[in-house]
């Protein structure tokens, strides 16, 4: 039994606009080990959400996986490519083996349905229960487990009657009720207040540990990654810039983008006059670049970045960086 659960290989997602395919995820390789939580961080428009959605087969209308594969490793050694599955088989997979939690818990729940019914629906679709009342019992038990007080009463509530945190707990219950092996959380705490965020992060961690469940957490918040994840992938304009364990990444960030990003975050207990920033804006140009995606905003003075794309190299053990400055011959330097 391999210890990898899900593997994205050279995944490319493009959006069709004006009869042209514009890649938004560009050949991404991600491996999710069993029982681990993997973070995928980046700023808006970097393609992190699209990566997650492509796993579930819920890419928006004009977008599609144009290249690469999404490999699911079953414990018995069989490997399935999710991109090659028929819609029906993929749907069976979703919910039972993969669960997903979305960013906006208000709109992600159907406003016209009782929350209990929405959670129970998952069981009924996949015929994991004999009848409604058995589903109901299971749901109430789980609602209790995710920390919803008075679950019998709350079963009959509509989404708008719950607070944001409670709704996100319902979403989590819905995602894990079939005991999936993988949880995909797309910005699970972005819409929540800090105190609620802390509770939800704790809950996700607990759920993963209790069920030996893996998770991909998509976020723009480095703090969330640091609290929740085991390893992390940093994404910029559709490409993975750097990947490492959380501890390695934060103690020794190597890629200029990662370093710029980390120094842009104001921190408590550290009072500098000004923040060190990444110059410029995230480019909106949809033209495929020849060189490194980050070259225009990069602080390193390397000419060849403009003409050549750096390969991923292992800068330290288990710490991979796509940057010429991080090559084996180059000294890793911090200013």
């Amino acid at each position: 039994m391999s210890d990898i659960l899900l593997e994205l290989k050279n995944l490319t997602v493009s959006i069709r606009r004006d009869k042209e395919d514009i890649p938004i995820v560009k050949g991404v390789d991600i491996a999710i080990p069993r029982g681990k939580i993997v973070g995928l961080v980046g700023e808006s428009g970097c393609g992190k959400s699209m990566t997650a959605k492509s796993v579930m087969g819920i890419l928006p209308g004009a977008a599609r996986v144009s290249f690469g594969s999404i490999l699911w490793h079953d414990p018995d050694g069989t490997v399935t490519d999710l991109t090659g599955l028929k819609e029906k088989e993929l749907r069976k997979m979703c919910g039972t083996k993969i669960g997903m939690v979305f960013q906006e818990p208000m709109t992600s729940l159907n406003p016209m349905m009782r929350i209990g019914d929405q959670v129970a629906e998952v069981l009924l679709i996949h015929k994991l229960v004999k009848n409604r009342s058995e589903a109901r019992d299971k749901v109430i038990q789980l609602l209790n487990e995710v920390g919803i007080p008075e679950p019998e009463l709350r079963y009959r509530s509509y989404p708008h009657e719950l607070s944001g945190g409670m709704r996100q707990r319902v979403m989590i219950a819905m995602a894990v009720i079939c005991e999936p092996k993988l949880l995909i959380a797309d910005e699970p705490t972005t819409a929540l207040d800090v105190t609620i965020e802390a509770q939800i992060l704790k809950l996700i961690r607990q759920m993963c540990e209790a069920r030996n469940m893996s998770a991909i957490v998509i976020t723009h918040n480095m703090g969330v990654v640091s609290r929740l994840c085991d390893s992390v992938y940093v994404m910029y304009m559709g490409r993975i810039m750097e990947r490492a364990s959380v501890r390695d990444l934060f103690s020794n960030p190597i890629h200029p983008y990662t370093r710029g990003l980390l120094s842009s975050i104001p921190r408590i207990g550290e009072n500098s006059e000004y923040l060190k920033t990444i110059p410029g804006n995230i480019p909106e140009s949809e033209k495929e670049t020849v060189g490194c995606e980050f070259c225009l905003r990069c602080s390193e003075d390397e000419r060849r970045c403009f003409f050549e794309r750096p390969e991923e190299t292992e800068a330290e053990e288990g710490h991979f960086v796509s940057c010429f400055t991080a090559g084996p011959g180059n000294e890793v330097h911090h200013e």
């Binding site: 700023e43 808006s44 207040d193 800090v194 105190t195 609620i196 965020e197 802390a198 992060l201 723009h220 918040n221 480095m222 703090g223 969330v224 640091s226 609290r227 959380v246 501890r247 934060f250 103690s251 020794n252 960030p253 370093r259 710029g260 990003l261 980390l262 120094s263 842009s264 975050i265 104001p266 921190r267 408590i268 207990g269 009072n271 006059e273 000004y274 923040l275 060190k276 920033t277 990444i278 804006n281 995230i282 909106e284 911090h334 200013e335």
Partner: protein
């Protein structure tokens, strides 16, 4: 001390009408003083009343009771014409850079609007002033004749800032002005605000839910909880020795990067 106070609120209460004759109290009997030249941050979770309090201070909303005193004048009872001179001295930077700029106006007209409202300058001088403002917020001259939707979020927020400082106000209120932005852009805007504040001698009321951002920009911090002020103190003391249980809880909830970093 009191001549140092720029704006203060005394026992201000504001409630909103809900359907079915109920009332929702948004700000409950709050008193607050803000000094000249300082950056005061209002922090709290959503629904704690921080935005409402800021709008009450700016008289964009009318308080149910209590007084708002701006530079020694009680402005809470003033209306219409009498209030206008004070409007000129307080300006606002909004949360959503996209919706706070009129989509059908060009950047030049957006930034020039406060100048035109006050008939401050002729057309040529207005253009010159707009250029000067664009330079201050680090935008190119070519931005003048574009529409807001042609800019990225960070650039739109720069336009909003240029509009706010156009009249050389005494006070600018930033209502969650950086929370909709990406980290790398947020840092640029924070730096810009800090620099402008220093260069122009502004006072700044900074509303945010993000305690790390507040720590970077604020001199004093006022924590609000459930429509009331929970704790108000110098930034340094508040972060190092929070007095109230709630403040401690809030601080401990921030998902900080826990590995000691090396820059």
């Amino acid at each position: 001390m009191s001549e140092n106070v720029l704006i203060s609120a005394r026992n201000v209460t504001k409630s909103f009408k809900l359907p079915g004759n109920k009332r929702h109290i948004a700000v409950d009997n709050v008193s607050l003083e803000m000094y000249k030249g300082e950056t005061l941050a209002l922090v709290g979770e959503s629904g704690c009343g921080k935005s409402t309090l800021a709008k009450l201070l700016m008289r964009l909303l009318d308080a149910d009771s209590g007084e708002i005193i701006f530079d020694g004048t009680d402005i809470s009872a003033l209306s219409g014409r009498a209030l206008r001179p004070f409007r000129k001295r307080m300006q606002m930077v909004f949360q959503d850079p996209a919706s706070s700029l009129d989509p059908r106006m060009k950047v030049r007209d957006i930034i020039a609007e406060p100048l035109e409202v006050w008939n401050a300058l002729g057309k040529k001088e207005t253009d010159e002033r707009v250029l000067e403002l664009l330079e201050m917020v680090e935008l190119k001259e070519s931005a003048m004749y574009k529409y807001p939707h042609q800019f990225s979020g960070g650039q739109k927020q720069r336009i909003g800032i240029a509009r706010a400082i156009a009249l050389n106000p005494d006070l600018i209120v930033c209502d969650e002005s950086v929370s909709a932005l990406d980290v790398s852009v947020q840092a640029q805007i924070l730096n810009l605000l800090k620099r402008l504040k220093k260069d122009l001698g502004l006072s700044c009321l900074f509303i945010s839910h993000d305690l790390s951002v507040v720590n970077f920009i604020a001199d004093r911090v006022c924590v609000m909880q459930a429509r009331k002020i929970c704790e108000i103190n110098d930034a340094k003391s508040l972060y190092e020795h929070p007095e109230r249980e709630y403040t401690r809880y809030l601080l401990s909830s921030i998902p900080t990067i826990q590995v000691k970093n090396v820059f």
